[in-house]
Symmetry: C2
Subunit: 546 residues, 2 copies
């Protein structure tokens, strides 16, 4: 039996495109001699479809797609992920299902039992967990088919009280197939390989695993589908961050013709770079735009975003706007111009003094000579947002936000100013990682100007301002933030690690007090196990450590 | 046995204040002769605590509060809601629990079985559902204690496959107690009374129900706790939108000394008015602010927000900023000034022409004489945001957003302009309801100027602009939006109701295309069964009906 793994890039709710792509792949797999082709979880509608699932019409469109896909399955079988309706009146109205299709007909439906409802996942919001398990017979073999999380209950503190494979194994299956929509984070692939390997080892079965690839707004899928033998050894792995289709021959309880390969994880920064490029590219492709605009300050964050955008969209599609204020240092415009020249992207220089002065003049009667403070600092940041948004409105450019994760965390940014944008490229990348990204981008030649890398970070909103006036060194800050954000450690535990107590309390307070700002920030491309946004849901007027 | 129902206003994560309030109420109930006092669901930490629940330290603080509360329970028992740890290694780490406390000790813990995970609710994100059920014995009586949703599985399409009361009834309980955190929506009280009445009728038991009161950012709790007899008849109801404490005597399977009362629901607009006032008030009180700022256009939306803020915070704490542009009509400033005079709030008049001209001048080289369009319109709206945010930054005022639900729905608003603010007061109130609110506010004397009510709505961002240039009449638009947003009807079903097909497709497309804007809007005070924000989660780059 020849089984094809189809690792594709879907688009949420774009039934026409998803169905066409799936049917095209069925034909391709058939031409290459496959007996069965396997698509990912919720392939017909894309993942995560969110509250679209609450619309009957949306479910009917899924059903329509499955019908078209079934008609294309002649002389080849397929497994495809789709929501299906729960026939029982009790419980949620839908299942997260895998349809097994042979000769134009759905011959079996497997429903997901373990529904991830944490971080970015909301599956129990929509789906009833399956309580019935049985293998699928195909060409004389028994397939234990599961959906993503169904294989993830295999650790010391399992999230669920049951494991589908513990039921399925009783039927003596010949192999496992798992279809997934398993989002990217720079540490996720290691976990995934470990968990899936543990499954093949525990159940002594070969395992074929198909993931999605591509970005859906903030969530990036990295692909990396793979095949394990019945001893937990990896036999092959599909491409990362690209579509791929491969065919494997299965017989006598074995994947034929393949020797175990060594799993060599990609370094974190390479992964983050690939994830961000795919994230930017798919945001534009899937929303039907092609051109980006951003404010270029001469600092490292906007330089990196500009370089990533040029790589993802083409330099000719990137408009950099340099907006010096009266506090900008001489090198700011020069550093920004060096980058523009290195990349070859378009640019404008628009000084904001005229607008900032106008506001200060207009506000004079109300502010009655009160001293310059954060109000005037923010006016400048917001004048810049008006300028870049005017470019966006006039020419249809999409504004890229350039805030990094360290700033987002402590609220070091101006709402409706530098926190504006359609998508935040670096919002899940700590400042210390931003520097690593700079070195990665410069790995072959200098793209990010050295001066942007080495100069002390500054918002340049008042004379001589430096980030270090208000914030601890990023080396310390980022390590502390990682403990609190990613690891969810208590202040007590963080202090016990040797961080200064006063600093820990101050930083956590800053993080918690900035919830109101983060609530209004653009979606953030997720590259870490805990990004701000839909995966981290905090009260705004709460009073915990704030 | 005398049972006190304590309907209190908690503050998420404010353990000191919540614990003090609970202990004070225990003492008060004891002084009034109560044997048992009942607090709401998750009373110790406030509802919804969200991802605070993922911090061990937060759970320890809950446990510390319960310990202090237990120590105060001498000569009186209490029921209090708190998260507790799941002793089993399998499943989620927490339960959503009710502790029964007698003589300084927790004598029983009841865990919630039905975990709402829809709309604004995320309970399965945190909690393991209970699978064990038993009544609590107290003073020779058996109490069937359940938590909120546990009683809500009583309809034609139940969300859950099991019902806790079906188990508990087997033990022959004498009464039901339900502790809740059941958020307000203008149609919710009717449902609640019906569902709880149906329970008391089905199980032939008296029912005491305690809800929270007060607002937690966008979610408002309306109180309205109540008591039913064993025939589903209401005997008493606590106050709406206020704290309350009442004591009931229970004996011989009856609530003594009370005759059935007629349940008379408050009209929708009265409820919405109360909900918004409480929402504004608690946002300020709980975030430690007292003064508000808003842009006053002379139109009805900002007039209503100004009037509500003056009522909630005191007119002396409201700063109205009038910001005419070169397209503002003469009556705009006059209508706004009439309102300011009617309310007696503070104001400034700051024309935005100077700043808008500055931007147009600065952008001239880049825009090269391209015609005036949405770019210049938005510059004006964004200049206004800069002005009011400068007031916010200079004086510590909180910016109130004045967008209504109709605008939010179709994206008729400027991001980082009139869509700015800390909290959106009318974001869940359709334009047609805004007019009803105006009449309600004017019920005794003219507060909202008649001219703001009768003139055609306009953003005044270009000469002679009217909302009706871009949008259908609000009467039609709002009815159409209600079908799509609140009722989640498919376009086909909406068209079948007689709406123009082209209009339906156009409006739904506008709604779906505006997701990227709504993602960045402030939290919206929720008064309807389906508000924009955390309760409505849609993909941004999806391609469904967009």
């Amino acid at each position: 039996m020849k089984i094809a793994l189809a690792q594709l890039n879907y688009h949420i709710g774009n039934f026409e495109s998803n169905t066409r792509k799936i049917i095209h792949t069925i034909q391709k797999a058939k031409e290459q001699g496959a007996d069965l082709v396997v698509f990912a979880e919720l392939a017909v509608c894309g993942y995560p479809p969110r509250d679209f699932l609450e619309f009957t019409e949306f479910i009917e469109l899924c059903e329509g797609s499955v019908k078209q896909i079934a008609e294309a399955c002649k002389g080849i079988a397929c497994i495809v992920g789709t929501p299906t309706r729960n026939p029982r009146i009790e419980g949620k109205d839908l299942f997260n299902s895998a349809c097994f299709i042979e000769e134009g007909k759905i011959t079996a439906i497997v429903n997901k039992a373990l529904l991830p409802t944490y971080d970015v996942f909301d599956e129990y919001r929509y789906f009833e967990p399956s309580r019935e398990f049985s293998c699928i017979e195909f060409q004389g073999k028994k397939i234990a088919l599961t959906i993503c999380e169904d294989l993830w209950n295999i650790n010391d503190n399992p999230l669920y009280i049951a494991s589908p494979m513990d039921q399925l194994i009783k039927e003596g299956p010949d192999l496992m197939i798992n279809i997934a929509a398993s989002p990217f984070a720079y540490n996720h692939d290691d976990n995934r390989v470990k968990v899936l390997s543990d499954n093949s080892l525990k159940y002594k079965l070969p395992l074929l695993y198909v993931n999605q690839v591509g970005a859906q707004t903030e969530i990036v899928f990295d692909g990396g589908s793979f095949v394990f033998n019945d001893e937990g050894r990896m036999l092959d792995q599909l491409k990362y961050f690209e579509e791929d289709l491969r065919i494997y021959e299965f017989s006598e309880e074995k994947i034929l013709d393949l020797e175990p390969v060594e799993y060599t994880p990609m370094p974190d920064i390479d992964q983050i770079h690939h994830g961000l490029i795919l994230g930017i590219k798919d945001y534009f492709v899937k929303s039907g735009f092609s051109k980006a605009v951003l404010g270029l300050s001469g600092g490292i964050d906007s330089a990196i975003v500009c370089a990533l955008a040029a790589e993802a969209l083409g330099a000719e599609n990137v408009m950099a706007v340099l907006m010096p204020s009266r506090f900008s240092t001489d090198h700011s415009v020069k550093d920004a111009m060096d980058l523009v020249n290195n990349l070859g992207c378009k640019h404008h220089v628009i000084a904001i003094k005229e607008a900032a002065d106008a506001f200060e003049h207009m506000l004079e009667p109300a502010f009655k000579g009160l001293p310059f403070n954060i109000a005037e600092e923010n006016i400048q940041a917001r004048c810049r947002a008006i300028v870049v948004m005017a470019f966006s409105n006039k020419f249809g450019y999409i504004l890229l936000n350039t805030s990094n994760k360290s700033e987002c965390a402590v609220g070091y940014g101006t709402l409706y100013g530098d926190m504006a944008g359609a998508i935040a490229v670096l919002g899940d990348v700590y400042k210390t990682q931003v520097y690593q990204l700079a070195n990665y981008i410069n790995r072959e030649r200098e793209i990010i100007p050295q001066n942007s890398i080495v100069k002390p970070p500054s918002a340049e909103l008042r004379p001589g301002q430096k980030d270090s006036d208000s914030l601890p060194d990023y080396d310390i800050l980022d390590r502390l933030l990682y403990q609190y954000i990613e690891l969810k450690k208590s202040s007590r535990d963080i202090i016990a690690q040797g961080f200064d107590e006063e600093l820990v309390r101050k930083v956590i307070k800053m993080v918690n007090k900035a919830e109101f700002k983060r609530y209004q920030t653009p979606p953030i491309l997720r590259v870490s196990p805990k990004a701000f946004g839909m995966g981290r849901r905090m009260p705004i007027v709460g009073k915990y450590l704030s």
